[in-house]
Symmetry: C2
Subunit: 467 residues, 2 copies
């Protein structure tokens, strides 16, 4: 439905209200939505301040108009796209560094700041924000917090959530709260901060964050290891993690993905499973690398190359190119929705075997890769998604892998969030009583359903079809 | 009011229902309550299973009878003591290790298990549960989770909360949910697990937990450093933390506390501020200790003694004895409610200076000590709490320090929780809108107010007096 948003003209905003065609179009989708499924908002508000966000949310709540917060649009599950028009509230102009407190290892930033810009601001202090995901160059801190993001360095440093001390959040009635504390730890009151993290703007809109920081490691080295079989590779990873090897990144690609990425990069690498590693330390990095190598050798390691600086980047290039390589593999095929399952590390080999089985069964090319140290596996079902029959079969293969991950005590999503795309797996993963509790919380904090309606929680009494 | 709990006899419980005098008396207080303020429950249920907890909670909710979960009774803020009689639900008989999965670095335990018993069960696997607080020998895992506990090793390993993967929880209507995931990370749905952590049984009763584990460090060394002034000591700590020294524990005691503890232990130590440290590593521990020593020397370090094994324990003894030393300092004086403020590390020297000022101003002996690496400070206002005028003045001094901590961007409680005792500081720390949000969540998940009523959230429209 179309909403009358003329009340916005009565608000005194620092920011801008737009109904320009390209603004509406740009706020209809994200990296994961298909154009045919997109819904444009009625209006886009480019907020410039917390006061703007509070005023818009309050007025929209009073007028019964949905507000869908939007940041860089790099989500993969429609997390920030409107399902019911209304207002798209864009926070990307709220991108200032408010304060850096190096003695507290803290930085205060506005939610719309791009991840890498945080690290640039911190460079001269020798500090960094450790859990930044690979999308740090293009996605915002607010977006990362709202989707409970993580990434390659999570195996050492934890998730983005683990480095958030305090959030300023606008609630559905327009009130502004601070959740959490600038103290390193607190046991005071309910963990509103943790509840808001990963709530995808359905319970409140994050406007500011205090992030915890760490000193930049003095030594960084990394590279890749090649194994004869996928089993060798996954067992080597599992063994390294449980033996306590202090890796900062440990990534796996299977032989299919290796082939695809080698083609794309035009390099002469074997079509074999590869494990990419990176080590961070202030001293003793050589000992740690030796420790890792010894464990890998116990799993029939073919060869392991380690370097630093540009040479390390070169060794990693194949891993970095995967998505592009998959997208460009065939002009007739699309990558479809990206799998993001996570299982306990001991089930990782089983999960990967399942990908091989499902690929054979459905006769699709399903390259897989991921943050193996956390048990997080990404995959693409390459298919012609414009062919309805083939698309349906591809989505079935995609879903079967998620269902299998949940059966293996895992989760439908390790780092992308639920959005629209993964609602249909909520029931299997959480059960009815837990979803009812989530729904009760949503109703308690947003009784009129103003904030990002249609996300995370499946509609009551209906089986959501998702993607 | 007294509640009719006869409906309990109709339930088929694995556990036991008791109205024995000593059981009622034992469940009226905790380590922090004063006998005069205690309220006995009408009945104690010793649950033996999740089914027991679910049945009791469901029936109590149907009959409008409050249920206050109780574990080892080691809380300090009345977190688990009844304010309105009803049922005390004791979980200490649910103390089994359900499963250990060493390859996943995971253990499933029932909520009533004592902390140290978890580590005993893990010994033969070379694993341990790193964030266990000092009370691990006497308090339960469920109690630690419910109060969002942490401790000396938090500076390296984080809080108990950071090592909880999944919780089984009984909600107010008796339904049983699993919150979180056995996967190392998940972005699926609202963070119910994190909301339940620290909710002190007011939103649900924890019956089982899956804990994440780590390998036991191969090298452990520690000891103490003596500084000429408190300023030197606090600045040395702050410098060590921000420089990235990898300490597993870093504890401070001021000169007053040193005197007190030396008296108690009958040792010949200087009446000077002391910093206790412990290091954990798999290799390179000597380098890390040297790094720390160099930083300490920049702050006029008098001397630093480091050892391992029993000799390390001996060096730490004075720190371990503090509470006993304070309790036995004078037969006429009591320690009163324990301060548990936490401030950003750069404000730690200021916070300690404030303790000195308030002690002078009110003319009380206020020894202070704490987990300095996290900015967490404990203190006791030694006073005759049986003398109403003196008790009131002592509580004023105690409260003034908490208010000051919050002004310094800190929190009223770093690890003990709110319970009854710290409700009066909630408003200053969180503000009205955040407390309203907490209240809305409580109503949503426990509409009849069955679970642990009277805790955490101050009553509406009233200024709670607390301790």
């Amino acid at each position: 439905m179309e909403y009358d948003c003329s009340f916005l003209t009565n608000l005194e905003l620092d920011g801008e209200v737009s109904q320009g065609h390209s603004d509406l179009e740009n706020h209809a989708g994200d990296f994961g939505t298909r154009e045919a499924d997109e819904t444009e908002p009625d209006v886009v508000v480019f907020a410039e301040s917390t006061a703007d966000v509070a005023a818009v949310v309050k007025a929209a709540n009073d007028h019964g108009v949905p507000v869908t917060p939007y940041a860089a649009g790099t989500g993969l599950e429609g997390n920030a796209t409107p399902v019911d028009r209304g207002i798209s509230l864009d926070t990307t102009r709220m991108d200032a560094v408010r304060e850096i407190r190096p003695d507290d290892l803290q930085i205060d930033v506005e939610a719309g700041i791009i991840g890498d810009e945080v690290n640039e601001a911190l460079e001269r202090y020798g500090l960094f924000f450790p859990p930044l995901p690979s999308s740090g160059a293009i996605s915002t801190i607010g977006g990362m917090i709202a989707t409970d993001a993580s990434g390659q360095r999570t195996v050492k440093y934890g998730e983005v959530a683990d480095w958030i001390l305090e959030l300023e959040v606008v609630l559905a009635d327009g009130s502004v709260i601070e959740a959490g504390s600038k103290a390193a730890k607190t046991s005071s009151g309910y963990n509103l901060k943790e509840l808001l993290i990963g709530s995808e703007g359905t319970l409140g809109i994050i406007t500011r964050a205090t992030l915890e920081l760490a000193g930049r490691p003095e030594q960084i080295k990394g590279g890749r290891a090649v194994f004869p079989t996928l089993n060798n590779a996954t067992e080597a990873i599992s063994d390294a993690i449980t033996s306590g090897v202090d890796v900062a990144k440990i990534e796996l690609i299977d032989d299919q993905t290796a082939m695809l990425a080698n083609e794309y990069a035009d390099v002469d690498l074997p079509k074999q499973p590869m494990v990419f590693v990176e080590f961070h330390a202030n001293h003793g990095i050589a000992e740690e690398i030796d420790f890792c190598r010894t464990i890998f050798e116990g799993h029939d390691l073919d060869r392991m190359e380690i370097a630093s600086g540009e040479e390390m980047e070169r060794l990693w290039q194949v891993r970095k190119d995967i998505t592009y390589a998959a997208e460009e593999h065939s002009p007739d095929l699309d990558i479809g929705p990206p799998g993001d399952v996570t299982v306990p590390i001991s089930r990782y080999p089983e999960m990967i075997a399942e990908v091989v089985t499902v690929a054979k069964e459905y006769d699709f090319f399903i390259p897989c890769f991921g943050h193996a140290g956390d048990g997080n596996l990404h995959y693409f079902v390459l298919a012609d998604y414009d062919n309805p029959e083939e698309a349906a079969r591809a989505r079935e293969a995609y879903a079967e892998l998620i269902e299998r991950a949940i059966e293996l005590d895992g989760t439908a999503t390790g780092e992308h969030g639920i959005g629209i795309g993964k609602q249909k797996f909520m029931e299997q993963e959480h059960g009815t009583a837990a979803i009812d509790a989530m729904r009760a919380i949503k109703r308690a904090l947003d009784p009129k359903g103003t904030l990002n309606p249609g996300k995370i929680i499946p509609s009551e009494g209906s089986v959501e079809d998702g993607q």
